[in-house]
Symmetry: D2
Subunit: 369 residues, 4 copies
């Protein structure tokens, strides 16, 4: 119940950070569809730690194995099972977990919920769980592309701490930037000047044993009109749930978002116009979704990530015997800033939502006699 997402394109992740491995079962894929596992590996490589000196040095090779559902590069119609073995486990790095509740981590709430916690690392709460999501995202992306050739998703780091890409630059990026371009930045910020400054901020935080947060911006292109549902399963509602289910997220906004609350209706309403034969909008304050349904414009949204919880500064907390203590981790492998690695996670969650709604729309598209 707790580890599944989607109604027709349905993924179920499993695995703990320090167990045998992590993975995902993906059910609800049409048969005889071309499927590249190389693309899945590429997406996983983008999520992997150790891609630059700014991110954790844990060397996770994270090779994906496809253990069911395909043959000769085609789907068979049954569930795909994608598995990544845990290879670089050093339980000793996490011995703190066994004695204290780490501030900002789920140690205490997991114990309250399940009456037990994994003896090393975060168990299901670890960011390693997102491996299954990213693998599934790469499958979802391929599925959507089979139906909609112009579809694509690109996310990037919009801000770190106080520093953000300026508005004009970003608006240009929205229609043009590619994942390849984004990946050329060590912090996945496609504006070179801003990227450099972000590196400095993160490096400084790392030096201080501290951590930083920021905002990821994501754009979805080539989505046909009419995806989504008008009531509970609005496209923006499902996107919100999708990204708010990622670790460390604190907020979601689509289109004009929180800033839009300061506009008047006459300024906010997107006028409908003709663009060739197609109905389009002059502005895009809606962020590509009206009444829960895609309107054919760019879907644009932001996701807020808090600063990473693991820091190398002494903090007050409570230990498992119930005593107030001071806690400072001995060492271990951690990012001072999760955002660069979170970009493919956000893209993947968005892909899961769109893939599900593509298939849902296929099921319920108006009957044409």
């Amino acid at each position: 119940m707790s580890s599944s997402f989607g109604q027709i394109f349905r993924v179920t992740t499993f695995g703990e950070s320090h167990g045998a491995g992590v993975g995902v079962v993906i059910d609800g894929i049409p048969g005889n569809m071309r499927l590249s596992l190389d693309i899945v590996q590429e997406w996983l490589d983008r999520r992997r730690p150790g891609q630059s000196e700014l991110t954790t040095s844990r060397d996770e090779s994270d090779r994906v194995e496809c253990l069911s559902g395909t043959e000769n590069g085609r789907t068979l119609g049954g569930p795909l099972m994608l598995f990544v073995r845990n290879t670089n486990i050093k339980p000793s790095d996490y011995k703190d977990v066994q004695t204290v509740f780490r501030p900002g981590h789920a140690d205490y709430t997991m114990l309250e919920k399940y009456g037990v916690t994994a003896s090393s690392g975060g168990g299901r709460s670890s960011a390693r769980e997102t491996i299954g999501r990213v693998a599934a995202g790469a499958v979802a992306w391929q599925l959507i592309r089979e139906f909609h050739k112009d579809f694509d998703i690109v996310g990037w780091v919009h801000s770190v701490k106080d520093l953000s890409i300026d508005k004009a630059t970003e608006q240009t990026l929205e229609s043009t930037v590619t994942r390849k371009i984004v990946d050329q930045s060590a912090v996945r910020c496609p504006d070179a000047a801003t990227s450099q400054k972000m590196v400095a901020i993160i490096t400084q935080a790392k030096g201080a044993g501290d951590s930083v947060g920021g905002i990821i911006r994501c754009v979805i292109r080539g989505v046909p009109t009419g995806l989504g549902e008008p009531v509970f399963d609005k496209l923006e509602a499902d996107l919100a749930k999708a990204v708010m289910s990622l670790p460390a997220t604190k907020g979601f906004e689509i289109g004009s978002g929180f800033a839009g609350t300061k506009m008047s209706g006459s300024a906010h309403n997107d006028a409908l116009i003709k663009r060739g034969e197609k109905i389009a909008t002059r502005t895009n304050h809606s962020g590509g979704v009206v009444g829960g349904l895609s309107n054919g414009e760019l879907i644009t949204f932001n996701v807020a990530f808090k600063p990473v919880s693991t820091i190398f500064i002494a903090q007050d907390t409570v230990d498992r015997s119930g005593r107030e203590v001071t806690f400072k981790p001995d060492g271990g492998r951690h990012d001072p800033c999760v955002l660069p690695r979170a970009v493919p996670m956000v893209e993947s969650m968005a892909a899961l939502v769109i893939a599900d709604h593509v298939l849902r729309h296929r099921a319920l598209a108006p009957f044409e006699p």
Copy 2:
């Protein structure tokens, strides 16, 4: 598929704005539970238009009928069906809908999705659909209270346009304000000075035929530790989906939210402390949810609402024959600001999420021998 919400406490709304009525079926309620329909009516009355001169003058009496599931003030264990007849329908008010696609409304996307639209009003996209949600929210609230006596939800208008309650005032409100106090303000802003200024802003917008948006802040008290799930169904993810499925919402943030992205980890982490025998946190940047699970602190979140789409100013749009036209509604009944009426909607959606997770936790609570 599209009109249901929740896994165990599961609600399904139905009805169009200008059809026979709107309602909800609620399945997944334990038998023999006390249930007050007066409370349901009270919640609906708070959602009803025409509560002040600032809101639409459509006089919807909105009397709820309970057509199944209870006897003698007790639940029978089967689904509750709550129905509100549409009584004050003037199709003529909506004749525009039949000729043009109104900017900001779902007229165009609904047609693209379903190949047909309701001939009057918004059909399923109308805010009248939320009647079913609020009725269900009032039931959810009662269910949760049976299990957790200290549980409560209070929402209020935090900002209208640029004007917001100041931070210090709001922090005090969080632990103390009641729905009753909130309701004493015509705009549901419990800070009297701010409330007065909000009235002025809304009145001015109304005079100009324009509209305004704003932010609702909501606090949930008395939630036990361990509600939620650590992966996809994180409590904040389900809350995000819940409120982002309301009409006109553009953003959601929990705890520190978007502002939290500017903090360092050492400032953001909530230190764990002992409060009597209970483990608590010194600050509450998390907003009461850690790793997707409630930690026993106040759950606090904000919801961004765009300015209302219906305005009495000429706008560019496209008509149903595909021609670019200028559109200005003749009249009709509309709020210049949806936020006061949206407060009970936000509270209701939050109640639906908590009720579902209360029952889910009941199903899967750790076994104690």
Copy 3:
């Protein structure tokens, strides 16, 4: 959770036998589909008691109201809500229910489950709950026909007590008999000679204050190949669940059924042949489903119904205070044989299954570039 059926074409019934009414919400219907409420009423009329002197004389006019989801004979894409008011309620007829646990009825198990029972009649356990199913079945039938012109479902009474239609006669009926022909028989047995004898058996049971059971046979025609799923949601598994969820059912068999267990594999295997350009089978022991998927042949199944629980003969039981007592109802309205009225229930449940799988197949049909 407990009152819903289907994954995409999803129905939720509600209502108690002696409350305001009973009904159904049907979600997952494509927009702009022609929908006749007259057909829905026709199906309900076939389910209605009082159609002959053999069935209960409770005069339930059972007029269906459609309170959402359609306009001008077309679906709008949102949920249909179909409601039938309870008009002929005489609580006094059921006062026994308040004092004893009636043998064969759910009085005792419902109290154990919910801690409360409806004060009159069976509540959710009443056969009146099936009104919602039959209304939904009539909608499902229309939906399937939009996609598959040759689709139809016909059920009939195959046996009452020891008496059954002979095999040769029945085999002819399978490809030819219509619901209209079936309805010409007072007991819905389309073989005139057998029908007459069945009437005699039922009349005799009625005279003795006793009741009888029997078997309904159902055939589904015009189902395309490939409906169903190969694992848990096999077409026969979903049909089995569907009919076994009807009141008073004790068994289900498809194709060769229990008799097939006595055959050798060489006799049982259906040889594949060409019928024109189409691949078909020479025999149909499979009952139209192979490996959980429809193979294009007739789908044929049987459903066993126990004799009705309400009889006018003294029986041992226990009362609500826990004392062993003898129980004989004073009067009230009851069929000595439920089978004639159960025919449309069986047809409806089969229609719900097929409609859901038609839409599921639409969602996941192999992609063709």
Copy 4:
């Protein structure tokens, strides 16, 4: 969508017969529950082929690996992933599959559904898929036992072809026989005399290259009152779906079943009596389920299995190029009778149903103040 079963205790199987392996993800298990993987292996060993000379000689060691969800013999609250590698794959044995549609097999319908089939063996339609179900069944069994100490499930072969255990013998078995006793028979028939004759029938069929079917009887003990739901998810409906989703099943009956259709109501109704302080029934025609809810008596049901489709006798069929051909397999590994190995499959499916309803009842048990 197609490979999952259960609502709270939810299993998802994956894997093809000739791919890397088969397995199951089980979500919805309370944390901190004792879990023995030895018991899981025991159940799998009972399902394994090659247990006697009557069953296929394919030597599948079928060692289960638990790759997530447990630590130190306790569940962690997240999904269990149980995996069994395919080790003894000889694609050559199945080369026929690539050229002809085997009668009685899903080759043709799978191709129609998915546009592709696995190049060897049955893919998802293979009986190897049931490995995941049996592994999950063994987990379900342990979960139920944690809540209900007297709970158990025992199935056995009631009949092979025309030969069945006599009624009196069987009635005694129902309350007493254990899985251990059943397993002492090569054909899992706990009546020694009948078992011997069954062996003879199967041996004879094997010699003739033919196959036989039969009936499995299953009894569930120690189920508390009130499990199940009164409408669609009746306990008997879920059991019917569960076992009818197993390969080769053609029928299901509970309690009096098809024979009960020949009884009069006065004979069929189970009188309620006091057994000590407990309310019980004098007879058990209901099979332990009344109105969809368990009544505390033995749950008893039968499952019809058709004769195995693979036989070594020439049969008419159609090949993949659409020509009518004669087909006789060259060799390969097959049971002439699936029933002995199907016993743990039936038990497992029953355990999945009960476990799910135990947790569902936990969620919705009447609130007691």
